[in-house]
């Protein structure tokens, strides 16, 4: 700046210097020279002053134009107040879509940096990522444009969702925090305007209210970086379709392949990959916007943790071209049948293990008194059949088992004491068996992320509070004993997975299952009614509990439970054709619930239990990128658990045994299917508070419409050019023409 000011003084210095750097000559016609000067003295002096003024003004203007960053700092150019600009980059997975050689996220970064560069040096900058949950990159606000640009340049898109509502809340916090430092605020969103993130701005009143609230504080601008006519084929929802993950028989794997593009796609090769090796593939065609289910039947030869993936050819959005599933494959699924009375589990045992050693389910029957002595970790499902009462010890024992991923199914009967069930099993003891991770405020399935950068605030954890896991072992309060005159069960539109197995299979007898005596069930908030009685009373209720599942059936599992009034069994269900599918689906559902607990989205917390004998303070966790993280172990009341928050990548996260490096457990993280849909919201449907700028046109024009950047320096340069022209003409007129 000082250099430019010195340059502005150049004409004066040159003028003075000229007096010392002239040429000398002797001259005879001095009288005529003197007379010429005398006659033109006034004109010459005026011309010299004019030229000096023009040249000085020229350099001054040049200095001002060149010194824009400094002058703007003094508000000499803008004359306006200091602006706090919050740059919000859409970091949702769909921003990884490649349009040309550049991903949408890279384009967003490019524009964000340009906005920073085109701003004034004193403007304050905050940066955050529209994600789920949002990430504050530069809490600031900071005036260091270079630093903010570097932060933006280092950003990578996430594999998660974009949560607009939460992001707006974070933006408002950033504005509130900088209220003392700047009086004018601007929020600039760099986004593709994908419907899955922005629909909330259109159809969710709470989010619309947030936007209006924010618009009262700041100018809102959306820079649309979206692609035109995006094409994308995604694969997701890889699941075990109604079969058990055992080596005893083939398993069916299903996934959903969707075409999100505007035109039909042909010959899409869908590969099934087990432990990195493609073992099967299918070729499909999909209409525009179509979705199809692709099923694979495979025979798993080895037991143990196995990571299955389904993939489609890489396209412009590669992140959703792979879906992951981990299976804890066992030789047979083991279930424990606890009889409250002799023979109470007889029909159940036959239903679960009809084929002896060839059945994929191995059922073990014990009397109720042997429950606490039986190690439950060896079993995948525990059935309690007409068990009269459950002690507190038994309850705790069962609760720990379920919370750690076990499944508990309660068949009622004439021996049970409803008040005991309600008192003991329905109680919620927060301190008893609450998972350690939950004690930290982070539960399985919750999201966690770190504040990546803050200019002044200390690092903190942003946690989304998910629904609190149900702790009660009883998904429904047991009411009074009732009788029913009508036969049959209501599948409730086959919404529940257990009932869904009967869809289209009316001959399985579900609709005609006779139930004449049952307990009224009052489901808890977290519970789901799978089947109901014709009276509308729930018959089968399930609920998650920790990492496991609990279910209660309103009637008995045995024909031996007789209604004294009619001298008939409470229900003919154990002998009915629908019994076997129901109980098997209960097992499958329980195990699937267990797998669901190990399937998360990026950004969610994954956790798992360790053997109670685990002595080390940490476990090694192998990430999808090959990195091994040491994860601390949390202990509490006999539970040893690990939890991991940095699930930023999709894929398998494997907890390794220290001794053998064998996987102790594997959790998979899959990209959210909603991010694959690239449908955009119409810009005119956004609230009027938003000014939408598209990037399909001229970059400078787009940037000129963003923020309050001044182009005064450009006019200064124009003035410099004009003065250069004027100076040349003047010099020519004053001297050249005379010559």
């Amino acid at each position: 700046m000082l250099g430019w000011l010195a340059a502005a003084a150049a004409p004066i210095l040159i003028h003075l210097w000229m007096r010392h750097t002239h040429r000398d000559t002797r001259w005879a016609a001095m009288e005529f020279l003197r007379e010429a000067i005398k006659r033109n003295a006034r004109r010459l002096k005026l011309q010299q002053w004019l030229l000096l003024a023009v040249r000085t003004l020229l350099l001054l203007l040049l200095a001002f134009a060149a010194a824009k960053p400094y002058l703007s700092g003094w508000n000499l150019l803008t004359g306006g107040p200091k602006i706090h600009r919050v740059l919000v980059l859409d970091g949702s997975m769909s921003m990884q879509y490649k349009s040309g050689d550049q991903s949408l996220f890279d384009r967003a970064k490019q524009y964000a940096v340009k906005v920073i560069e085109s701003g004034n040096s004193v403007d304050l900058i905050s940066v955050c990522l529209l994600a789920g949950p949002p990430q504050t990159i530069v809490a600031g606000p900071i005036a260091d444009a270079r630093r903010a640009s570097a932060q933006i340049a280092s950003l990578e898109p996430t594999y998660g969702r974009g949560n607009l509502s939460e992001t707006l809340a974070v933006v408002k916090e950033l504005i509130d925090d900088s209220a003392d430092e700047a009086s004018v605020h601007e929020v600039v969103f760099f986004t593709e305007l994908a419907a899955h993130s922005w629909h909330a701005a259109i159809d969710q009143p709470a989010t619309i209210a947030q936007i209006e609230d924010l618009a009262n504080l700041a100018k809102l601008t959306v820079v649309d970086v979206g692609a035109i006519g995006p094409e994308n084929v995604s694969v997701g929802s890889l699941r075990l379709a109604g079969s058990l993950p055992t080596t005893a028989g083939p398993v069916r794997l299903e996934c959903e392949v969707a075409n999100h593009g505007p035109s039909r796609v042909y010959d899409v090769v869908v590969q099934l990959v087990n432990s990195g090796v493609a073992i099967d593939e299918q070729s499909i065609s999909l209409p525009a916007g179509g979705t199809t289910t692709v099923a694979f039947d495979v025979q798993l030869a080895e037991s143990g943790w196995q990571t299955i993936a389904v993939r489609t050819p890489s396209d412009n959005l590669a992140a959703d071209d792979v879906a992951w599933l981990t299976l804890d494959v066992k030789p047979r699924v083991r279930v424990l049948l606890v009889e409250g009375a002799p023979g109470a589990a007889k029909y159940l045992q036959h239903a679960l293990n009809p084929g002896g050693q060839t059945s994929p389910i191995e059922a073990t029957v014990i009397p109720e008194g042997a429950l606490v002595e039986t190690p439950l970790d060896d079993f995948d499902v525990v059935f309690l059949c007409n068990v009269a009462r459950i002690t507190q010890g038994e309850r705790d024992y069962l609760h720990r088992y379920v919370v750690n991923g076990g499944n508990l199914v309660l068949f009622l009967g004439d021996r049970i004491l409803p008040e005991v069930y309600n008192d003991v099993l329905a109680q919620q003891q927060q301190n008893l068996a609450t998972p350690p991770a939950a004690a930290m405020g982070i539960g399985r399935g919750q999201r966690s992320t770190n504040l990546l950068y803050s200019d002044r605030a200390p690092a903190m954890r942003l946690v989304k509070q998910a629904d609190a896991p149900a702790d009660a072992l009883l998904p429904a309060e047991v009411g009074e004993l009732r009788s029913s005159e009508e036969f049959g069960l209501d599948p409730l539109d086959y919404r529940h997975p257990i009932a869904a197995a009967f869809r289209g299979s009316e001959r399985a007898g579900l609709l005609s299952t006779p139930v004449s005596r049952y307990y009224e069930l009052k489901p808890s908030d977290a519970a789901t009614v799978a089947l109901a009685l014709p009276s509308g009373d729930p018959f089968l209720v399930t609920a998650p509990c920790g990492d496991g599942m609990v279910a209660v059936i309103a009637s008995s599992a045995s024909l031996d439970t007789i209604d004294p009034a009619t001298v008939q069994p409470w229900t003919m269900l154990p002998a009915w054709p629908s019994f076997l599918p129901i109980v098997r689906e209960l097992v499958v559902f329980g195990l699937e619930q267990n797998r669901d607990a190990n399937r998360a989205e990026p950004g969610m917390v994954i956790s798992g239990a360790l053997p109670p004998t685990w002595a080390k303070a940490s476990v090694d966790l192998l990430r999808p990128d090959g990195r091994v993280d040491s994860v601390p172990v949390v202990r509490g009341d006999g539970i040893v658990e690990w939890s991991y928050t940095s699930t930023d990548l999709p894929g398998a996260y494997t907890v390794l045994s220290t001794a053998s490096n064998e996987p102790l457990s594997v959790a998979t993280v899959n990209v959210p299917g909603t991010e694959s849909g690239l449908t955009r919201v119409a810009t005119d449907s956004l609230p009027d508070s938003f000014q939408v700028q598209t990037t399909t046109g001229d970059l400078q024009r787009t940037l000129a419409n963003v923020g309050a950047t001044t182009d005064l320096h450009r006019w200064l340069l124009y003035a410099v050019l004009a003065l250069l022209l004027i100076e040349s003409v003047m010099a020519w007129a004053f001297a050249g023409r005379a010559a």
Partner: protein, 301 residues
């Protein structure tokens, strides 16, 4: 010194004048004879022969002695000689030392060459040439003569100039007009950087004494064009002080001034019956002399 002498009488320069010399001789002779009677009475006349009187002849040339002896009227026939006296007035003031970068000679050197050449030309024609050097006073005065040795003397005098003083043409011309008691042609070789009115008054005096006056106005081309481009400190000759000037800005005004001056001199010369020839020091001498001779011829015609 000898080299400069050779320069003054450079055979190459004079060889160029050789072609003109014959013409010049005819012009001079014609100038004298064409008048039918010599305007310059008192010049030496040698007797050649007698011839019989014819009606209309001037009775002043009748040889009365022969008439007394032979009773026949004869007229004396004379062999005429050219009787031109040429006064060369050479300005040796300081301003005549100016020489621009583009000029091969200073004004003084150029004027010296021209004066010497003229003198040589005059002496070769058996005419008489005299020389006066002056600045603010008459410095040297060489009386007119037509001898060959006289030429050498004039050249020597011309070389002995120091050229450090100012010019004062007016009083000097008056003084010389009084001193030149024999009529002739007065060549003035000067830049005339002096008061024009006084100078013209001096010329008028020459004309009053019935001299023919030829003003050879010697100027450096830079003094007319003012071709300087960069800021220049002009150190005035003849103690006229210094001036720092941006030439481009003053060029036009200066050219107007110098043009006004030369026009005034030219007009004044013509008004007083004097010939005016502007000679730039970058033009060949023969051109200058030829220009003069052509002027002279036009005048004779």
């Amino acid at each position: 010194m000898s080299a400069e002498t050779v320069n003054y009488l450079d055979p190459a320069v004079l060889a160029k004048l050789e072609g003109l010399q014959l013409r010049a001789a005819r012009i001079v002779e014609g100038y004298v004879s064409g008048l039918h009677r010599s305007p310059y009475q008192g010049f030496s006349v040698e007797f050649a022969e007698h011839r019989e009187y014819a009606p209309g002849d001037d009775l002043r040339y009748v040889d009365w002695k022969v008439f007394g002896k032979t009773d026949k009227v004869y007229l004396k026939q004379y062999e005429e000689e050219t009787n031109l006296i040429c006064y060369l007035l050479l300005d040796t003031s300081e301003s005549m030392q100016y020489q621009s970068a583009a000029a091969p000679l200073s004004k003084l050197e150029y004027a010296q060459c021209a004066a010497a050449a003229l003198a040589y030309l005059v002496v070769r024609q058996q005419d008489s040439a005299g020389l006066v050097t002056f600045d603010d006073a008459v410095r040297q005065f060489v009386r007119p003569s037509s001898s060959a040795t006289h030429l050498s003397q004039m050249v020597q005098v011309m070389e002995q100039t120091d050229a450090v003083r100012k010019t004062r043409t007016g009083p000097i011309f008056h003084e010389l007009a009084e001193r030149f008691n024999r009529r002739g042609i007065v060549f003035i070789l000067s830049d005339l950087f002096d008061d024009a009115d006084e100078m013209l008054a001096g010329l008028k005096h020459f004309r009053h004494r019935r001299h023919d006056v030829v003003v050879l106005h010697v100027l450096d081309p830079a003094e007319l064009d003012f071709p300087f481009q960069h800021a220049t400190m002009f150190h005035g000759m003849e103690a006229l002080g210094d001036l720092l000037v941006e030439p481009a800005q003053i060029r036009k005004a200066y050219q107007q001034e110098i043009s006004r001056f030369t026009a005034q001199v030219r007009t004044g010369c013509l008004a007083h019956g004097a010939d005016y020839v502007q000679m730039q020091t970058d033009t060949p001498l023969d051109v200058a002399l030829s220009t003069y001779l052509s002027h002279r011829r036009r005048r004779v015609q």
